[in-house]
Amino acid sequence: MDKVIVIGMGCITALGHNVPQFWEGLVAGRTGISPISGFNREFLRNPCAGEIRLSPRMITYARVERIRSRLALFAALAIEEALRQSRLEDEHLRTRKVGLVVGVSLGMSLAKGEIAARSENADASEETFDDLSGFAGELADRFGLRGEACTVSTACASGTNAVGIARDMIVLEEYDAVVCGGADTLDRMKCFGHSALNTLTPTSIQPFSAERDGTIIGEGAGMLVLEPARNLNGRRALAVCAGSGFSCDANHITAPDPAGAGAIHAMREALSDAGLEPADIDYINLHGSGTPHNDAVECRAIAEVFGCAVSGIPVSSIKAAIGHAMGAAGACEAVATVLSIVHQKVPPTANTRAKDPAFPVHLICAGPIDWKIEHALSNSFGFGGCNGTVIFSKRI
């Protein structure tokens, strides 16, 4: 079986509008969490979020490209950056079998135009929609992709599952390339919803710390271009997309299975898919949402899968840096994981000064560390018990 490689990446988050800015911010331990400016913060449990400030260039891009929603804008910007890095020419996109798989959680489904003025960050001219059917297809049309265009919605695992599905498309369906990732937007309704569920921190997000008391919402998009290794033709691959795992807790609509059985299954399936043993993994990019229950379950699952090796594997979460970008979270984390391999460096967990002493993991929190990373794993766990894991490797 031909290896599936990552040949291009794009990313837009509260930390920056492209991949270099994103990585620079992660390594510096910066956080893009700041007071929300796009909508009314009154009555929110936390007035801060990982909000993206639109630059003049982005606004011009949206006008020129006739993009009328934040969701499509973020996705399009990330796809454009990823395709540029992949050096896939327009002719390749027209003549080859290139697909698109985009993960979205709630997207702009709750940002209704008619109530924009009082409770959303969608202004009257923005396209807000709750019909997901055209989202991927319109992006595919925009970039001239002629293969299948599919939207995946598995809550906060959407981005990770999209990468897994894209990899399977290349392995099984002889795709020449698949653009995959996730996009999502911030709005007041989501902040209200997470407030109501007590998943939103009233203070600051501190993944895996003993003081953790909730997550913080973010937005953005992350995209990867996957290709079979046979198509490289002298271009430089960033990493191998080595394996993926899927599972469902089938336990509770918002809470994870306390035993972490679904997470364990997803990680083991990804390891098996990649032909790796737990001891082969050199870095874990955590789901690390910062909620007390979620972090505890993820830690339990990691300890179960990696056994006594767990204390030697560096782990970190980027959610304190960019917020929980929901449908985009897994894709942005996949981008961060690939960058960790490229730079042989583990980014720190911003905000967290020390890990919860009850957790047996090797949490990187004071600053980045140089680390020899051959294989890295990224986890995502979503509402509805949807779990996803992807593994990236260095060696082509």
Partner: protein
């Protein structure tokens, strides 16, 4: 992959034969049902007087979730499966559901809850049930299905997209059985469509699994990509395949399959419905060893193909 069962809930009821009869006759389901008024979104199960314990497993559920639970349950039964079999190996069963608007009824209710609380807070219960993947998640919880659980959306080729995701899961060995289908709750009055609220689920299994449990395989289902401008890719076009090898579509004979009731359904699901319908069509089985269903004129053209077994298990 082989098709071993179909489950559904629609205004035509939950029985396959009633639904297929409706597709052939095109009379509205409401006329069949006491000539009552068009149903409001979310009233289907009440209208059909379906009450099952599974529907009470949560304090609140969106109609797409309830309908999906009923349809998955019917598909399980039709395929000869039960919860005990699933609980023995829960990760070997997966779910792929298509939806376009998902839990739109709950999303409307979320706004109501916010307004009723003077825009200061909303109901956490409602918020947790408004995600697009809620139907797949609730069906998984109802039956203990722990394998891949994917919710997808796309344009005209959504029916085929669902089949492709199911095939991926089966062929990559992520599960041996996938409940694949769709659930929508547009409301019957909104579009004037009697099938606006519907959940439709196929039980698809790997050949090996079907053989191992001696399941009745109605058809082997294959999917094949086409080109966007493939002139043959008119959604819902049906072709009889003369060749024993269904990949050889050159000898395809365009068939006139008259199903006026299909017009009550969104185009994007026609290929999936036809896959189920044709697997039960004895006249076609007599004439052709295989048939193909075209899908997705507006996206990427593609075909789903059904290879009929000559006799029980012959195809597997």
């Amino acid at each position: 992959m082989v098709l071993t069962g179909t489950g559904l809930v629609s205004a035509a009821g939950t029985a396959k034969k009633d639904f297929f009869k409706y597709l052939r006759r095109s009379s509205t389901c409401q006329e069949q049902r006491n000539g009552s008024k068009w149903l409001e979104a979310g009233q289907l199960l009440k209208h059909l007087e379906i009450t099952e314990p599974k529907l009470k497993s949560a304090r609140y559920m969106d109609p797409v979730s309830k309908n999906a639970i009923v349809a998955v349950g019917r598909a399980m039964t039709d395929a000869g499966l039960d919860e005990f079999q699933i609980s023995a190996d829960p990760y070997e069963y997966g779910i792929v559901l298509g939806t376009t608007r998902g839990a739109c009824v709950t999303r409307e209710a979320v706004y109501g809850s916010l307004a009723s609380r003077r825009n200061k807070m909303m109901s956490g219960t409602l918020f947790s049930h408004c995600g697009y993947n809620i139907a797949g998640a609730m069906a998984a919880i109802a039956y203990g299905i722990k394998g891949p659980n994917i919710t997808v959306a796309s344009r005209e080729d959504l029916g085929l997209c669902i089949l492709k995701r199911a095939r991926q899961i089966l062929m990559r060995g992520r599960a041996h059985t996938v409940f694949a289908g769709f659930t929508e709750c547009d409301g019957l009055s909104k579009r004037g469509s009697p099938l606006g609220e519907i959940a439709f689920v196929l039980c698809l299994e790997s050949k090996a699994r079907a053989v191992a449990r001696a399941a009745v395989a109605l058809a082997e289902v294959r999917v094949q990509d086409g080109e966007r401008d493939d002139s043959r890719s008119v959604t819902g076009g049906v072709y009889g395949l003369q060749a024993r090898d269904p990949a050889q579509t050159q000898s395809a004979e365009a068939l006139s399959v008259s199903l006026p009731g299909l017009h009550a359904l969104s185009d994007r699901y026609r290929s999936l419905i036809l896959t189920a319908f044709l697997s039960h069509e004895p006249r076609l089985k007599d004439r052709f060893p295989a048939v193909a269903v075209a899908s997705g004129a507006g996206s990427n053209g593609a075909l789903s193909q059904l290879l009929y077994p000559e006799e029980q298990h012959a195809a597997v």
